[in-house]
Every structure is written in structure tokens, then in C-alpha cells.
């Protein structure tokens, strides 16, 4: 397999990231970090929204790192398949565990303060 790199100085084994891309990603990451810290001080109303905003910014940062720092964008498609397979297995694991957690009836949850009152015995139905 002929080397397919196309760096400035002759061929090499894999893609060479240009300086512009590297520095650009780095600055973007710093900027996003500042944003995510700032976003923490702003209350977006409700518990779920804060979580969602923080996770959205983290995902954007993560995808920047994956695509440019880890060269996934210029690399073989199969490496993306491997990484996505890992993520898929993890989300599957999370999904089913959450389905199980979310579906408990309320009388099953252990509640220290009010133990289930035992109804008195009524002989006939």
C-alpha cells in the first residue's frame, strides 16, 4: 500500500495535520472551556437544562478533539467504526440500565421515613 500522506515534505505514513488546524482547534477548545465555566454560573431554569447545556458544550469540545487532534477526519473509516462501536456499546449499557432504573413503581423504592403501613386484616374480601 503506497503511503498516502500528503505532508509538505514528501510522503509519510499518515495524514499530517497543518499548523493552522492544530492551533485553531486549540484556541476553540480554550474558548469553549471558558464558555462552559461561565455557563455554570448562569441558571438555565430547571435541573435538566443545566445538565443539557454542560453536556452539549462538552460534546462539542470532545468532537473537536476527536476529529482534529486524533485525525479521525482524515483517517481510515474503519477507525471511526471502531470508536463509534465503543460509544454505541457504552450508550447501550447506559440505556438499558436507565430503563431499569426509571421503571420502578413508587411502592418499591425504599423510603426511610414512611415504612409501608401494613393494612389491618379483613377476614373476607
Amino acid at each position: 500500500m503506497a503511503a498516502h500522506g500528503h505532508g509538505e515534505h514528501g510522503e509519510t505514513l499518515s495524514h499530517i495535520a497543518s499548523m493552522r488546524v492544530l492551533v485553531g482547534t486549540f484556541v476553540a477548545l480554550l474558548f469553549l472551556t471558558v464558555i462552559t465555566v461561565a455557563a455554570a454560573y448562569v441558571d438555565f431554569g430547571g435541573r435538566g437544562l443545566n445538565l443539557a447545556v454542560a453536556m452539549l458544550i462538552a460534546t462539542v469540545k470532545a468532537s473537536l478533539v476527536i476529529l482534529y487532534f486524533m485525525h479521525l477526519r482524515y483517517d481510515r473509516l474503519f477507525h471511526t467504526v471502531i470508536f463509534v462501536a465503543g460509544l454505541l456499546a457504552a450508550t447501550l449499557f447506559l440505556g438499558f440500565a436507565l430503563v431499569d432504573r426509571g421503571q420502578y413503581e413508587d411502592d418499591v423504592i425504599w423510603d426511610k421515613d414512611n415504612q409501608p403501613a401494613i393494612k389491618p386484616y379483613t377476614p373476607e374480601l
Binding site: 509519510t12 499548523m19 472551556t33 455557563a39 470532545a62 471502531i82 456499546a89 457504552a90 432504573r101 426511610k112
Partner: protein, 257 residues
Amino acid sequence: MSEHAHGDQKGSRFIQHHYDDAQHQFDSGKLAIWLFLAQEVLFFSALFVAYIIFRTQHPEIFEYGSQYLDRTMGAVNTLVLIGSSFTAAYAVRCAQLRNQRTLVICLAITLACALGFLTIKYFEYSEKIHHGTLYGKKFVPHVDPDGATFPEDAVIKPCIHGSEGNLGADPSIPPPAEGEAAPCPDNTNMFFTLYFAMTGLHGLHVLFGVFVFIWLLVRAMKGHFTPDYYGPVDYAALYWHLVDLIWIFLFPLYYLI
């Protein structure tokens, strides 16, 4: 990280005998490191699942507990890791372009950032041990042992441990005097259990990264890495980016929300 072509023929090239050529060896190594990263994602996924499950069940624990964490230290750590991620990516570029001097400098900076991360983490942990906010039975937040109580304007007050909310309290440690501490939600120790489990495991991976980069630095100075043999630098950088990725998710989950 997992496979370093340190073949038996010394010579300038480290291509092992059973590979056809440098490209074959590099691609095999690349495939292996991506499989290793997928495995690492799964390794951490279990802890993220535990975090999300406990959070859906007891959101109040996490909101109360995250006040104990110092946001500035967390933010500095994030910047340190992103910086080292950048220098690692830049190191790969230098290796590809046969630019050994900058390669050595970048690897040195990455190593320094990694050590910096660990020292900051050391300060955070010692501060928590000092305030007694540890995991499991050791979660006994009390006044400073050397007499100085929590400063008046402290945003959060140590909560009464031993209130029936926290089962399994360590009876030997006396709860703080009356009126000084607010009751904390049940099982607040779970927050610190998960905090120490995840940041501890991530810290361990940073430690592995430190050893890997020391080893890389030594080889770079000996001039082993050339445009057709820079596999180890690339794989170490990929591993380091994954460690940074995990911290990018850890930081908001614990420190910010």
C-alpha cells in the same frame, strides 16, 4: 502505547521482520491503538453509567456535593490538559516532518503539563482529606482539626454527620457542635464515592501517560523517530487525547453542575 516496534535489528529502522513494510506496521499499530481506545471508553463507561444512575435517583446529593469542589482548580486542570493535548498533537506533526528539536520540546511540555495536572489533583485531594469529606464511612465533614472553624462567609457549611440521614456513620468521630452545620441530604457520601472513583481512575491513567511520555522523551532524544517510523508518538498522542476527552466530560459533570 500497546505495541512499540522495538525490533531486534537495531539499525535506523525498527520494522519488525514479520511486517511487509513500514506502512503495514504503522497501520497495524494504528488499528490496535483504536481498538485499545474503544476498550478504554468501555472501561470508563461503567463509571459514567453509575454516575448517571445515581444522579437520576438522588439529584440533590450531587448538587449539594458539588459545592465542596473548587471550580478554579478544576478549570485550571482542564486548561492544563487541553494544552498538553495540543502539544501532543503538535509533537506528532514534528515527528512526521523530521523536526526532532521541536518534537523533544513538545514531548517535554506535554510531560510537564501531565505532572502539573497530578500536582493540582494532589492539592484537591489533600484539601478534601483535611475537611473530612471522603467516601463511604469516612464522610465525616467536621470543623478544621486545628481549631479554626469554617470561615463565617463560607458558601457551604459542613453538614451534621451522624444525622440518621447518613447511615453507617463513623461513631468514633464526634459530630460538630450545635448550630454550626446544616443537615446534608441522605447518603451524601455517595457523591464523594463516585468523585474519588472517577477522578482517581482518571488520575491513574494520567500517571500511565506520564510514564509513557517519559519513555517517549528518552527515545526521541536518541533520535529514533523518523518520518517512516513515528508510530509510538502517534499512539501515545491518541491515548493522551482520550485521557483529555474523559476529563472534558468529568469536569462539568462534577465541578459545574
